[in-house]
């Protein structure tokens, strides 16, 4: 009887010790149990943006950190240099007014659209502008206080009846992002979009592989400001632009 009691006691202690030890080992080795309907490498939330006469930009999100790439139909590849879950690639050296089809790469594995077709985009006929007009902003994570570290963000402007083409960027480790509005065209890519005025800006932030983007719309006057209102992904919504004391 006494032996049984001692055995039970030892078993109890053993279990209590084993659970945190095993959990700790898994945590330290980066082991994760995944239950997901989506493939980890599959590109999601793909945004084709910044379409110019000689270049386009493609941004997307993957669940796993991979080296992203783009494979044009003619075999030309554009690859990122580091692994990430958030990807943006400038495809350059293109011809004006030409339709290009391409696949996205995740660690060299090629992906098409969900329909099975390649991605496709026609470059603009308007000559590329060398003008640069940088605007920027910051994204805060759903907790409302820390920076959103990583993500893909896109923006489209509306002025009166005209809508701009889409521009996109990757969010950096301090929640920052930057768009170049120089040479911005309308969404039909047939004329310049007047962005140096008061416009309605719709921004979409993609931070998860399997979720829709968080959408925010602001009224911005790019004639007088370059900094876009802070984007809060959570419930906290203190949309202020940091001021300058004494300004």
């Amino acid at each position: 009887m006494k032996k049984n009691k001692t055995l039970s006691l030892l078993t109890l202690v053993g279990l209590l010790v084993a659970i945190p030890v095993v959990t700790g080992v898994f945590q330290r080795s980066g082991f994760e149990l995944r239950i997901s309907a989506l493939e980890e490498d599959e590109p999601r939330n793909v945004v084709i943006s910044d379409v110019k006469s000689t270049s386009i930009k493609v941004s997307w999100v993957t669940e796993r950190q991979v080296i992203g790439g783009i494979l044009l139909e003619n075999g030309t590849q554009f690859n990122e240099s580091t692994k990430s879950s958030y990807h943006t690639i400038d495809v350059t050296g293109l011809k004006a007014s030409t339709t290009y089809t391409f696949k996205l790469l995740s660690d060299a594995k090629a992906w098409t659209m969900e329909t099975g077709s390649d991605y496709s985009i026609k470059t603009s006929s308007m000559p590329a502008s060398s003008e640069k007009f940088l605007v920027y902003g910051q994204v805060f994570s759903p907790d409302g206080f820390s920076f959103q570290q990583g993500g893909v963000i896109s923006m489209q402007l509306v002025s009166g009846s005209e809508t701009s083409q889409i521009v996109s960027a990757v969010i950096n480790e301090t929640g920052g992002y930057q768009f170049d509005l120089g040479g911005l065209q309308n969404d039909s890519l047939i004329r310049s979009f007047a962005y140096k005025q008061e416009v309605e800006a719709t921004l979409k932030v993609y931070i998860a592989h399997d979720q829709e983007g968080v959408e925010k719309t602001y009224s911005i006057d790019f004639l007088s400001q370059r900094q876009i209102q802070n984007i809060y992904l959570g419930e906290v919504n203190i949309d202020i632009i940091p001021g300058v004391v004494g300004e």
Partner: protein
């Protein structure tokens, strides 16, 4: 007696578990790798040196004849083509001590202590003296005398540790001398803020501010 035995037994179990948990916690903390956060906006991993101490360039460097071809590739320099300014930058100058920053101006433009460096995401804060009579600029080490001639889209080039960082002027404004809020290393995107006295040029009654956003980073 039975109750006492029961209590003692569970106190014993609790003590053992507590000791084991404490051991595991300390083991995990002590063996965790040191995470080095790169590109932080605080220059915390830099060895902060006084102006008269170790900096990238040493003293006695002037703007005479400085060009991309003859500067120290691992040094820290500013080049503003629009106003023909090409000077060394003295790293980590404390703006609270007049004798310290004035000493740094003998070498070149001051980089504000605790603000970002070009290879970090944040605000690189640069400051220098300005004089009303620009012909006295060299004599009085007033390297930012002409930055009030800059306008939006002008380029500001900074060389740092073998990289050429190109910025584009995006904002020009003035603040009162008490507006210390502008002195910060925090910015969601990499940028340079340049501060000098004025307007009017060289006046201590206000501060002239020029912000430039990073456009390119290249090896040089």
């Amino acid at each position: 007696m039975k109750v006492l035995k029961f209590l003692l037994k569970y106190i014993f179990i609790f003590t053992i578990v507590f000791i084991v948990y404490t051991f595991i916690y300390h083991y995990q903390v002590s063996s965790s790798p040191n995470v080095k956060v790169e590109k932080t906006f605080i220059a915390s991993d830099e060895s902060i040196s006084e102006v008269a101490g170790d900096n990238d360039l040493g003293y006695g460097v002037t703007n005479t004849g400085l060009s991309e071809g003859n500067i120290d590739k691992n040094g820290f320099y500013i080049n503003i083509p629009r106003i023909n300014l090409f000077k060394p930058i003295v790293k980590n100058v404390d703006p609270r001590y007049k004798e310290v920053y004035q000493e740094s101006w003998k070498t070149g433009v001051s980089h504000g202590k605790f603000t970002a460096l070009p290879d970090q995401i944040g605000n690189v804060y640069l400051f220098a003296h300005a004089v009303n009579d620009a012909s006295k600029m060299n004599k009085e080490n007033a390297w930012f005398s002409l930055i009030d001639e800059l306008s939006e889209s002008d380029q500001v080039i900074v060389y740092y540790k073998g990289q050429r960082y190109t910025y584009q002027v995006s904002r020009i404004y003035t603040v009162s001398p008490s507006a210390t809020g502008v002195y910060t290393g925090v910015s969601p995107v990499p940028k340079v803020t340049m501060q000098t006295c004025g307007p009017p040029r060289g006046s201590v009654s206000s501060r002239y501010m020029v912000e430039a956003l990073q456009v390119y980073v290249e090896n040089f």
